[in-house]
């Protein structure tokens, strides 16, 4: 290519000053319209509301917040919830109790697959109704098989239980060796001393690596702004538990941390009509979960061979 291919570079003789000016005008006209198109392409951002506030953006990591800073954060969350739902909640930061390690035991002889636990959990933990987020997924399994590829998630018979099947609810197993904690690039999820794997919703960047890593499909993402009907909001909240989440962050079962750290049973357990769910402190030899793990001959941890060491035990009445 010869030099005449390009408009002259600085220092080379210009063919004619007039052409230079014209080409300059020409180029700047195109540039200007290009910039206008660029600005216009960002028009949808005008609809961006409540994405983040300065305080939310600057908020420190949960483990680095001083008690005073945490109090301010809790107040801010209460204000945000009141602004959105018209109900003033109480948001607390409950700490783990000493000498407590939570364990869940689920009796597969008793579960009838009614899914009441799924909906009690949704109600207690302020999960989005549309799009739907549910921490618990009840699997219908064929009699005699634990192959999860044979499971049915959308069973809808007239009555449950159905002959020839058993039902297995799956939620976060609060593993002792959690793969989700290992892979999170920003430490937004970690395991507390009482065994609950928690998420700092205000720290999560929404990369969804933890969702890919979880072998139990227990972690769920807010693909858009969650929607909770005002009349169904549960105003008793905790920071690491059921405070309403925002678009773009992960959430999952946290053993009803706002209830269990106050000594109560989780919502799924209380609603189960068959009494299939058992929960308590494994470090207390008198708890029902200690009794179960001591006396039942057969209990199963899902996908045990992956080395996750779940704190969720499925047992049978033998």
């Amino acid at each position: 290519m010869s030099h005449s291919d390009f408009p002259p570079l600085q220092g080379e003789p210009a063919p004619a000053a007039g052409m230079n000016r014209r080409s300059f005008l020409r180029t700047s006209a195109v540039l200007t319209t290009g910039l206008a198109a660029l600005a216009s392409s960002l028009r949808p951002l005008l609809e961006l509301e409540d994405y983040t506030s300065v305080e939310q953006f600057m908020q420190k990591y949960y483990k680095e917040l001083t008690p005073a800073e945490m109090a301010k954060v809790l107040k801010r969350i209460e204000n945000e919830v009141e602004k959105q739902y018209g109900i003033r909640p109480q948001v607390r930061d409950l700490r783990p109790m000493d000498g407590v390690e939570f364990v869940y035991a689920l009796n597969l002889t008793r579960c009838i697959g009614c899914r009441k636990c799924v909906h009690a959990c949704v109600q207690e933990n302020n999960q989005s109704r549309n799009p739907e987020i549910q921490y618990i997924r009840v699997l219908r399994m064929p009699h005699g098989s634990f192959d999860l590829d044979q499971s049915e998630h959308n069973y809808a018979p007239a009555t449950v239980p159905e002959k020839g099947y058993f039902y297995m609810p799956v939620q976060c197993q609060q593993c002792r060796n959690p793969p989700c904690v290992k892979v999170c690039p920003v430490h937004a999820t970690w395991q507390e001393t009482d065994g609950i794997t928690v998420i700092d919703y205000n720290w999560c960047i929404g990369c969804r690596y933890c969702e890919a890593a979880c072998p139990y499909w227990a972690r769920h993402f807010n693909f858009t702004k969650p929607s909770i009907p005002k009349e169904r909001l549960n105003p008793e909240m905790s920071y690491l538990g059921n405070q309403p989440r925002h678009q773009g962050v992960m959430e999952k079962c946290h053993f009803c941390i706002q209830r269990t750290r106050a000594g109560r049973y989780p919502a799924c357990l209380e609603v189960c009509p068959a009494g299939a769910r058992k929960f308590g402190n494994i470090l207390d030899p008198n708890s029902e979960v200690s009794y179960i793990l001591r006396t039942k001959r057969v209990f199963i941890q899902l996908k045990e061979e992956l080395g996750t060491s779940p704190r969720f035990f499925y047992y049978f009445d033998v």
Binding site: H3, T27, R43, Y61, D147, V183, C184, F223
Partner: protein
């Protein structure tokens, strides 16, 4: 010091200015790419407002084309540095003046990778949580933290190498060996590491048996070193056609032999993978069944993977035949390689890992219009960057854009 800075700024200004100057074909190309970029930007703005529901992703398939493209492009970025090996280790003359085009491709590819990861985040405003010191980078446990470090490091490495060499050429000054040779050798190792780390993102997940296999890492590298040099073969011919930069056919054929060997290894590894998945008949192969044969009535990926396999096999045969020494056939082969490997790494790796879900549910994935526009926008952005890099570097390398013709007095 001030003078050195001013001179550098003049250099940057002239480089920037020349990016806006060209003939009608240049304007047409850049114009179309800009339009596609803007369409992508607009689509991303919508995604920012509404959230990732604007894509086809869901809790069941939580990574899609963004991460698929990211994975493919990390491979391209790694392989672009492939040319460095014959030149710096084996003193290949033909490729000596062309290495920089590979490194510039690596820079463009890394920029695309960073863009794809950013658009995939649910909360991109919280990116600062990843910065060590400021945030809480989970190094060394999380492979994503490794990826953040190695990708940015690789970007800086290549920007330094290219920037330094081009600036020296601009000033007609011999580059000092210590300022670039050690970095080049580091880049060779680093290139392998960026793709291995990306592979380990997948391999490390015990809950996904489709990915939790030791063949993923070697497969990544083999496919990257097939697709990367294939892209460079095509890019060099474009450069040769549009400028009169000296690019010999021998250089292209050297690259061809790299593609040839890599593709042979890639196909061999594919055979290994298929045998392992299907021979023993154990139950962990649901994802492979879904991909190659369809499962429980779901078979959206089957035509794609078989197309990719056919492309790869045809490309492999063409590569071993002397037929592909002719540029016409070589170009066809390169296209087959690139498309086949893009399908393999995207749809053939990322998506099947999610189907069925760890609880056995079958939910398929299709990218939405918005998602597709964002992808096209980022690809256009990458091509835009690479074109600009070439637009700046070719005149510098040919001596037509140099300090000598800066002109008196004020800068342009």
């Amino acid at each position: 010091m001030r003078r050195a800075t001013r001179e550098y700024l003049v250099f940057l200004w002239r480089c920037g200015r020349i990016a806006f100057v060209g003939d009608w074909r240049y304007y047409a190309w850049m114009g179309v790419l800009t339009v596609i970029c803007l369409l992508g930007l607009n689509a991303y703005a919508k995604q920012l407002v509404h959230g990732l529901i604007a894509t086809g992703m869901s809790d069941e398939v939580s990574w899609g084309v963004y991460i698929a493209n990211f994975t493919f492009l990390v491979g391209v970025a790694a392989a672009a540095v492939m040319m460095v090996i014959p030149v710096y280790i084996y003193d290949n003359e033909e490729l000596h003046d062309l290495v920089i085009f590979g490194e510039l491709l690596a820079v463009a590819a890394i920029l695309m990778c960073l863009a794809f990861v950013t658009v995939d985040l649910g909360r991109p405003d919280r990116f600062w949580h990843l910065i060590p010191g400021l945030g809480q980078l989970n190094f060394p446990a999380s492979m994503l933290s490794w990826d953040v470090i190695v990708l940015n490091g690789y970007l800086l490495l290549n920007v330094h190498i290219c920037g330094y060499l081009l600036y020296c050429r601009y000033r007609n000054v011999k580059p000092s060996k210590w300022f670039y040779i050690p970095f080049v050798f580091v880049a060779i190792v680093w290139a392998v590491s960026i793709h291995t780390v990306t592979a380990f993102l997948y391999v490390g997940l015990g809950g996904r048996p489709f990915w939790n296999s030791s063949i993923v890492g070697p497969r990544f590298l083999a496919s990257a070193f097939t697709a990367g040099p294939a892209i460079i073969i095509l890019a060099l011919q474009v450069i040769r056609r549009l400028t009169n930069y000296r690019i010999t056919d021998k250089a292209l054929l050297t690259l061809r032999s790299i593609v040839q060997v890599s593709m042979l290894i890639n196909v061999f590894l594919l055979v290994n993978e298929v045998f392992k998945e299907f021979y023993s008949g154990n139950l962990h192969v649901a994802s492979s069944k879904y991909l190659y044969l369809g499962l429980h009535g779901y078979h959206a990926l089957v035509p794609w993977i078989w197309t990719a396999i056919v492309f790869n096999l045809v490309a492999m045969f063409l590569l071993v035949l002397p037929l592909s020494r002719s540029l016409k056939w070589l170009n066809l082969t390169c296209v087959l390689c690139i498309v086949g490997i893009w399908i393999e790494k995207g749809m053939g790796l990322v998506i099947p890992g999610f189907i069925p879900t760890p609880l056995g549910q079958m939910v398929e994935y299709r990218p939405s219009l918005n998602e597709t526009l964002v992808c096209l926008g980022i690809w256009a952005f990458g091509l835009l960057c690479y074109t600009v890099f070439l637009r700046m570097s070719v005149p510098i390398l040919q001596g037509r854009l140099s300090k000598a013709n800066e002109g008196p007095g004020r800068p342009a």
